[in-house]
């Protein structure tokens, strides 16, 4: 009798394209390694320590929340690990262990879980945590002081500090090529420009991040930096410098593109990116902060729900 046969019954559709959150997280982690490994090479075991601690503690925070809130274990989707990685990429290698763990607490618990977990966070969790930490312990992020004990074969000064305090001519010694190949100090995974670009392009080609956001973010930086530069080439560094220093590249490819806090429609994505880029340069050039990427990203995260309302009309609803 075939009545004992237990067929699977479910709702249409009966196909799925096979994508999943864990595949996405895995690929973004993979792409970030291209920038993180050279960083670790540059800063040694201390950097490896920061990265692994950050990832591990991010996962543990999420597990803890899973237990406390009695929700299914969600660390398997790799999102917590990804947040840990993103966070570590922005840190200097000298970050003390307690600051790393506090940071991932802010990222995972305050940045994501209290909003309802994955997909519900209005801000990029890693960026939020970074800004909280920067406001609380500013001296930990003084890259010049932090990395004093390292020997580099290049000018060991945080480039954005130079341009900020001494104007555009001070950054002349930085050849763009050197910046591109990570010959600058900064966060563990934020300085190796070519690696970030390669990782970003990989993610774009595979469709894991939306090119519209990365592209328009970079265009926003380029155009606004160019404007400043043309107006006053003495005081303001050129667009190439802005594109390759600070958190610009990691911001464009890895941070601004975080799913939950970015728009999904075409025109909103462009506005979001352009605005982010322009704000970055504004903050860098006329604000009081040294780097503007993180604040710019928080601000565009904030306007995301509003810009994402610009969208085509649904079928059958007016013209």
């Amino acid at each position: 009798m075939h009545s004992t046969l237990k067929l699977t019954v479910s709702h249409a559709p009966f196909w799925h394209n096979g994508s999943s959150i864990s595949t996405k997280s895995r690929n973004i982690l993979l792409a970030s390694l291209v920038a993180v490994i050279p960083g670790c090479y540059q800063y040694g075991m201390a950097a490896v320590g920061v990265v692994t601690l950050s990832i591990a503690s991010a996962i543990l925070w999420e597990l803890l929340i899973n237990f406390i809130s009695r929700r299914p274990i969600s660390v398997g989707d790799g999102n917590a690990a990804l947040i840990g990685m993103m966070f570590a990429m922005m840190l200097p290698a000298t970050m003390p262990w307690w600051a790393v763990i506090t940071g991932t607490f802010f990222a995972v618990v305050i940045g994501k879980e209290i909003f309802g977990g994955i997909g519900a966070n209005p801000f990029n969790p890693a960026v939020l945590a970074m800004t909280i930490l920067m406001l609380s312990w500013a001296d930990l992020f003084d890259f010049n002081a932090a990395l004093l004990n390292y020997q580099f074969d290049f000018k060991a000064v945080y480039p954005l500090v130079l341009s900020k305090t001494f104007g555009a001519s001070a950054v002349d010694p930085f050849a763009l090529m050197d910046l591109l190949f990570g010959k600058q100090i900064g966060g563990i995974g934020s300085t190796f420009g070519i690696g970030l670009i390669a990782g970003g392009v990989y993610l774009i080609l595979r469709g894991f991040v939306r090119w519209e956001i990365s592209f328009s973010f970079l265009v926003g930086i380029f155009v606004s930096a160019l404007c400043f530069n043309i107006l006053n080439p003495e005081a303001y560094a050129g667009p190439g410098f802005h594109l390759l220093t600070g958190y610009t590249l990691i911001g464009a490819f890895f941070l601004a593109t975080e799913d939950s806090s970015s728009p999904v429609n075409f025109i909103p994505m462009l506005i979001y990116g352009l605005l982010g880029g322009a704000l970055t340069v504004l903050i860098r050039n006329i604000g009081t902060h040294i780097d503007g990427v993180l604040y710019a990203i928080l601000i565009i995260n904030l306007v995301n729900p509003i810009v994402d309302k610009i969208r085509p009309k649904a079928l059958g609803k007016g013209v």
């Binding site: 237990k6 699977t8 394209n17 096979g18 728009p263």
Partner: protein, 427 residues
């Protein structure tokens, strides 16, 4: 199953199946011992029903539960009713299944009541006799005085993936389609007939005498709703009368033509049968034949956890049992191995936007799903375009969180509609 391509920069694409130049002739499945007819009516008046267990049924005879009901089927074989049982279908719909023990090949008898009706073809006798033909033609649209039908659209393309049933008739039976269309135009008095075909069949379709429109090969362009929108936009029909279009499948048109010219019903359904290994065959099956008979023909075995889909992979319905019969609108049957099934999940939406970018109705699915998951169906309908959805299933197909979005949508629509119906009946 079509998976996401390695490069994901471009929008995911799902291509319709295109019938092969050398498509093998359909395999004819011989009638088995029993056929089953599912009637869309609850078995409420079991006592005074038109049919009782033991009643004889002739082939071509109308089988229904109450007189004059629009819900009837045509028995494809003659025999004796051996079982009548209620069952609950998708979304709690109450139906009745009638099992008929089929007479031997030599003692088949035919119901002749259509013989006289076919002398004077009319919309009324089409409605009363032909709605049980393969392809399930719907004539009720012509009787809605509020929305006069302005055009007849014949679907010569299949509107779900994998299926080639409709294309088969365009490719091999265009003359029958021509006859059918002429008859339809005659009985409805509508001269505007359009035949929708995939590009590859444009040439063949030309001899149908109808206006030919092609649809492209990407899902869901052959979706009737999209075709309708397209036609409304191009002002082929009066934009104000929204439902002023009657859709027929090419198979139904052939069957209608044949019924009026011969006075006999052709009650074999053409089905695209896709076995576990992905092999596609056309089969011609008497309506009501249980799936098991087809499985036996091809030595296809099923195990626990496998899935059987009636209809295409995007819009079909999965069934509980291999006893499920082939119905007049079963265009495709797909057998899926357990290992081919992607499980859904209850992870929240991560706002990746894939669904928004594929939705043909421009719905902000990422917003919509939040309201649906929270059960806020009215907000979903008022502010998030729930009713613009044409039910193509594409959003579930691409969802990175593997949320059963389409199921949420169907449930929400159903809930709202039944609430509305309840309100109206109370008023």
């Amino acid at each position: 199953m079509i998976k996401r391509s390695f490069f994901g920069l471009v929008k995911p694409k799902l291509q319709y199946e295109i019938i092969d130049e050398a498509q093998a002739e359909p395999v004819r499945i011989k009638p088995g011992k029993q056929i089953m007819l599912y009637i869309d009516q609850p078995d409420e008046n079991a006592g005074n029903a038109l049919f009782k267990i033991g009643d004889p049924v002739k082939s071509g005879q109308k089988v229904t539960l109450s007189d004059g009901s629009a819900d009837y089927l045509l028995s494809s074989k003659s025999g004796q009713i051996s079982k009548i049982s209620p069952f609950v279908g998708i979304l709690g719909k109450k139906s009745t299944s009638l099992t008929i023990d089929v007479d031997g090949e030599s003692s088949q008898s035919r119901d002749e009541s259509f013989k006289s009706a076919c002398q004077a073809p009319s919309l009324e006798n089409a409605r009363d006799f032909l709605a049980g033909l393969p392809g399930k033609p719907d004539f009720n649209v012509f009787f809605d005085s509020e929305k006069p039908v302005k055009a007849i659209v014949v679907l010569g393309a299949d509107d779900d993936l994998l299926g080639i049933t409709n294309q088969y008739f365009v490719k091999n039976n265009i003359i029958a389609i021509k006859t059918g269309i002429e008859l339809l135009c005659k009985i409805t008095g509508i001269s505007h007939a359009i035949l929708i075909v995939p590009q590859q069949l444009e040439q063949v379709a030309g001899s149908s005498g109808a206006i030919i429109k092609t649809v492209d090969s990407e899902y869901p362009s052959a979706h009737p709703e999209l075709i309708m929108q397209h036609m409304l936009a191009s002002e082929d029909v009066d934009a104000k009368s929204k439902s002023g279009i009657a859709f027929f499948s090419s198979e139904a048109v052939c069957a209608i033509g044949a019924a009026y010219t011969t006075g006999k019903f052709f009650l074999e359904k053409m089905v695209t049968f896709v076995s576990k290994d992905g092999n596609k065959r056309l089969v011609s099956v008497p309506i009501g034949t249980p799936l098991q008979d087809i499985l036996n023909e091809f030595n296809e075995t099923l195990n626990d956890g496998d899935r059987v889909v009636f209809g295409g992979p995007m819009k079909g319905v999965s069934v509980f049992s291999t006893d499920t019969p082939v119905m007049p609108d079963t265009d495709t049957i797909i057998i899926q191995d357990k290992r081919q099934i992607t499980e859904g999940s209850d992870i929240a939406c991560i706002n990746c936007g894939e669904c928004v970018r594929v939705c043909p109705a421009n719905i902000q699915v990422n917003q919509l799903i939040r309201f649906l998951e929270a059960g806020q169906y009215e907000e979903a309908a008022d502010q998030h375009d729930l009713f613009s959805c044409i039910e193509c299933g594409f959003c579930s197909y691409v969802c990175e969180s593997r949320i059963p979005v389409f199921q949420h949508i169907k449930l929400a629509k159903h809930t709202l509609e039944s609430m509305k119906a309840a309100e109206e009946s109370n008023a």
